[in-house]
């Protein structure tokens, strides 16, 4: 067992983990942050996306030990300080960017990473960026709309496919 210490959603945490403990497992099972979902567990679906030192990563494909010393942000850390939904979360609600909601934490974390680097993405850039986030309900269209809206762009301009 190895002791790891990291900052998760602004709080310093220390846990004993095995070498094989995945970051996703530590977040869910040791820190009870179950908003980070395990969909495929094979780094395809993106439901487990969190930010490590500001970058989107698939937490099911990173060892907890490798996040020692890192700053980690999960979906639980996305709301505003007063508990209200962040701009991206509110846009997903407003534009019906989720149905069953399973993929939503990963979608929101990927969207936040995209908008940090590219505040006004084109629709094509949004779709390209979401290549590693699978949704089996929405057909993506309302997710793309929500992210365009969250970036302050005109949503009706997004063409239907």
């Amino acid at each position: 067992m190895t002791k790891v210490t990291m900052t998760v959603n602004g709080k310093t945490v220390s846990k004993e983990v095995e070498g094989r403990t995945l970051l996703s497992a530590m977040l869910r099972e040791q820190l009870n942050l179950t908003g980070t979902h395990i969909g495929c567990d094979t780094s395809q679906c993106g439901a487990c996306v969190v930010h490590v030192n500001g970058e989107a990563v698939k937490s099911c494909t990173m060892f907890a030990a490798e996040a020692d010393g890192a700053e980690v942000k999960t979906i639980e850390g996305m709301a505003n300080a007063d508990g209200s939904l962040s701009t991206i979360q509110a846009a997903f609600q407003e534009h019906h960017g989720l149905q069953c909601g399973f993929c939503t934490p990963g979608m929101v974390m990927s969207a936040a990473a995209l908008l940090k680097d590219n505040p006004k993405p084109s629709e094509a850039e949004v779709r390209e960026y979401l290549e590693g986030n699978l949704c089996r309900c929405t057909g993506y269209h309302n997710i793309v709309k929500a992210i365009m809206a969250a970036s302050g762009q005109d949503v009706p301009a997004v063409a239907a496919e």
Binding site: E18, G19, R20, S43, M62, E66, G132
Partner: protein
């Protein structure tokens, strides 16, 4: 996954020692292939030595010969963002997806040498030099076949040196589900000739297409490829995604597209 110890050295020398101290240690790059492999219990090392904390293996610079030198633990995202070798950055920008590119590393990809990976095509197509903790290996001598390289047990890729061509491009025909290359072709035009490297197609992994190199060295145009015969389908991969003959055809098509798009 079977359990193992994980070590995070901060210097190459420490990583080499941690590798040699164990009878069954494996280097860990970004883990984007190795972790899924461990989950399937296809590998069971007793120790993983992570390269991620070795600062001297992260980063991109140019050497006195004008080569782009990329640390072995540099992520695909960092190479994609660099831009000083556009053909290489364009290739890195289309590996996997954004989250995978934030973890996956060039050293890990080249050490694994997946027959459908993108980086081997860039390294072979550029005539790059693979630098390890022991020696420098020319790309032409490095790739030995599917998942096989010149690396010895415990040897670590610390850096990769790329000569920067006049123009280059990587044309990738993706397998729609995995997004790996069904066929990918890297074309690089240097002052002294053209190199063409093909990934995804062959049972022996990445390789050069010499007929295309000769034709393009005489005249660098998509037309030079159009008048060539497609390479032989012998030894090309046949699977449920396509036959060897289909891949042979794709090699020609993607080479033409790479030449047309080279900049």
């Amino acid at each position: 996954m079977y359990d193992f110890d994980i070590e995070r050295p901060s210097r190459i020398a420490d990583a080499v020692k941690l590798m040699s101290d164990s009878t069954d240690a494996q280097p860990l790059g970004g883990g984007q292939t190795l972790i899924p492999t461990l989950k399937q219990r296809l590998a069971s090392p007793e120790r993983l030595v992570s390269m991620a904390g070795i600062d001297e293996m992260v980063g991109i610079c140019k050497d006195d010969a004008g080569r782009l030198c990329i640390g072995g633990a540099t992520t695909h995202a960092a190479v994609a963002a660099d831009g000083s070798y556009p053909g290489l950055s364009g290739l890195a920008a289309r590996i996997g997806d954004p989250a995978v590119r934030n973890r996956g590393t060039i050293g890990g990809s080249l050490a694994n040498n997946d027959p459908a990976a993108c980086y081997p095509a860039a390294a072979l197509g550029s005539g790059a030099t693979i630098v390890t903790n022991k020696r420098e290996i020319a790309a032409d001598d490095y790739f030995r076949g599917m998942f096989d390289t010149a690396l010895e047990e415990g040897e670590i890729i610390t850096e990769v040196k790329f000569p920067i061509p006049e123009v280059s491009h990587y044309a990738k025909f993706v397998q729609p589900a995995s997004r790996f290359a069904l066929v990918g072709v890297f074309v690089a035009k240097f002052a002294d000739g053209v190199r063409v490297a093909v990934t995804g197609a062959s049972e022996s992994g990445v390789h050069r297409w010499s007929a295309a190199e000769e034709a393009l060295s005489r005249s660098f145009s998509a037309g030079s490829i159009g008048s060539l015969e497609a390479p032989s389908a012998d030894g090309l991969i046949t699977d449920l995604h396509g036959t060897g003959a289909y891949r042979a055809h794709l090699v020609k098509v993607m080479t033409g597209r790479a030449v047309a798009a080279a900049s």
